[in-house]
Symmetry: C2
C-alpha cells in the first residue's frame, strides 16, 4: 500500500459526501421533506437485501445489485438529479452523467475507477439481470413513497397514471411480482382520488 493510493481513496470518499446535498423529488414517507440521493441509494440497498427473492431471474447476484444501487447515483454530484417525468432535462441527462462519471470515478486509483465505472455502465445499460433488478428497485421506491404520501410528488407535478405506467413498467423486466404489487397500489391511488387517470 502506498500513501498516494490511500490518499486518492480518501479524496473520493470525501468527494462523495456531496451526494448528500442532491435533493430528489420524492418525499419521505412522513412528508416532512424531500429525500436526497444518498438516502434513496441506501434505501435501495436495503430493498435489495429484503426483496431479492422477487427477482425474475433467481440467478441474480444480490451482492452486485447492492453495490450497483449504492453507486448508481454518484454521478448526480455533478449532473444533478433528473426527475423521471422531466422530458426536457432527460434528453441532456446522458451526456451530463457521462462527464460526471469520468471525473468522479477517476478520483480513485485506476483499478478501482474501472471497477466503479463498469458497475455504473452496467446499471445504465440495463441489459444484465442484475441491472434489470436494480432498475426495478430504483422505480419501486419512489412509487412506494408516492403511494404512502397519497401522491405528494405526483400531485405536485401533475403526474397522471398513464405517465406512471409508461415510465415504470420496465420494472417487469427485473421483478414482475414487484411490478404487479405496485401497479395494484397505483390502481388504488386512482380509485382513492390522489392520482388522476
Amino acid at each position: 500500500m502506498t500513501i498516494e493510493r490511500l490518499e486518492q481513496q480518501i479524496q473520493f470518499i470525501v468527494e462523495i459526501d456531496k451526494l448528500k446535498q442532491i435533493v430528489r423529488q420524492t418525499y419521505l414517507t412522513d412528508v416532512s421533506r424531500r429525500e436526497n440521493s444518498v438516502e434513496h441509494s441506501w434505501h435501495l440497498a436495503l430493498m435489495a437485501m429484503v426483496l431479492a427473492e422477487h427477482a425474475n431471474d433467481p440467478g441474480i447476484d444480490i451482492q452486485r445489485v447492492i453495490k450497483m444501487v449504492l453507486v448508481h447515483d454518484i454521478v448526480e454530484i455533478d449532473a444533478g438529479d433528473t426527475f423521471l417525468y422531466d422530458a426536457k432535462h432527460s434528453e441532456s441527462k446522458i451526456n451530463r452523467e457521462l462527464a460526471a462519471a469520468d471525473r468522479l470515478f477517476n478520483l480513485l486509483p485506476s483499478d478501482q475507477a474501472d471497477m466503479f465505472r463498469k458497475l455504473w455502465d452496467e446499471f445504465e445499460a440495463r441489459e444484465t439481470r442484475d441491472a434489470k433488478f436494480a432498475h426495478a428497485l430504483d422505480r419501486l421506491q419512489p412509487m412506494l413513497h408516492n403511494v404512502i404520501t397519497k401522491g405528494k410528488a405526483w400531485q405536485k407535478h401533475g403526474i397522471k397514471k398513464s405517465q406512471v405506467i409508461q415510465k415504470n413498467s420496465l420494472m417487469k423486466e427485473g421483478a414482475a411480482p414487484l411490478w404487479d404489487y405496485i401497479s395494484g397500489l397505483v390502481d388504488d391511488a386512482v380509485e382513492e382520488g390522489y392520482l388522476s387517470e
Copy 2:
C-alpha cells in the same frame, strides 16, 4: 411467494424510512448541517468498497461488511443516536438498542428477521474479522469529517485529543493502516489548533 410475506417485507422497508430522520453529531464536510444515520450508513458502505484492502485480515468478506454497515444503525429508529463521547447515555444504549432490534427486525418474515438480527448482533459483538473492520470504518468516517471541518463537532462538544484516541483506537483491531492514517491527521489537528491536547 405469499402476498403476506411481501407485505411484511414492504412494511419493514417503509418503517426504515424513519432512519433518515435520526440526526447524528457529525457535520457534512461542507458544515452546512449535521448528517443523519442513513447518510452515515451509505458512506460506510462506500468506504467498505473502497478501503477493503486496508483490513488487517485479508480474508474479510467485504460483501458481509457492506451489509453489516448498511444495517448497523437501523435500531436507532427507536433507540436514537448515542454520541460516542456521551457517557451517560452510552450506559443505557445497549438495552434501548436490544429492544429496538426486537421490534424492528421482527417486522420482517422470520427467516429474514433472523438474518438481519444475526448480522446486527455480530456487528455489536465486534469479535469477527468482518465486524472489526466494520467498526474501524464506523469510527474513521466521523473522525474524517471532523478533520475536514476543522473539528466542528469536536469543538462543539469540547472533545479533547485524549478522548478521541481513547474512543477510537479500537480501529486498530480491524484496520491498523487506517488508524495510523487518521491518527496522524488527529495529531495535525492538535498542531493546527482545532483539537485540544
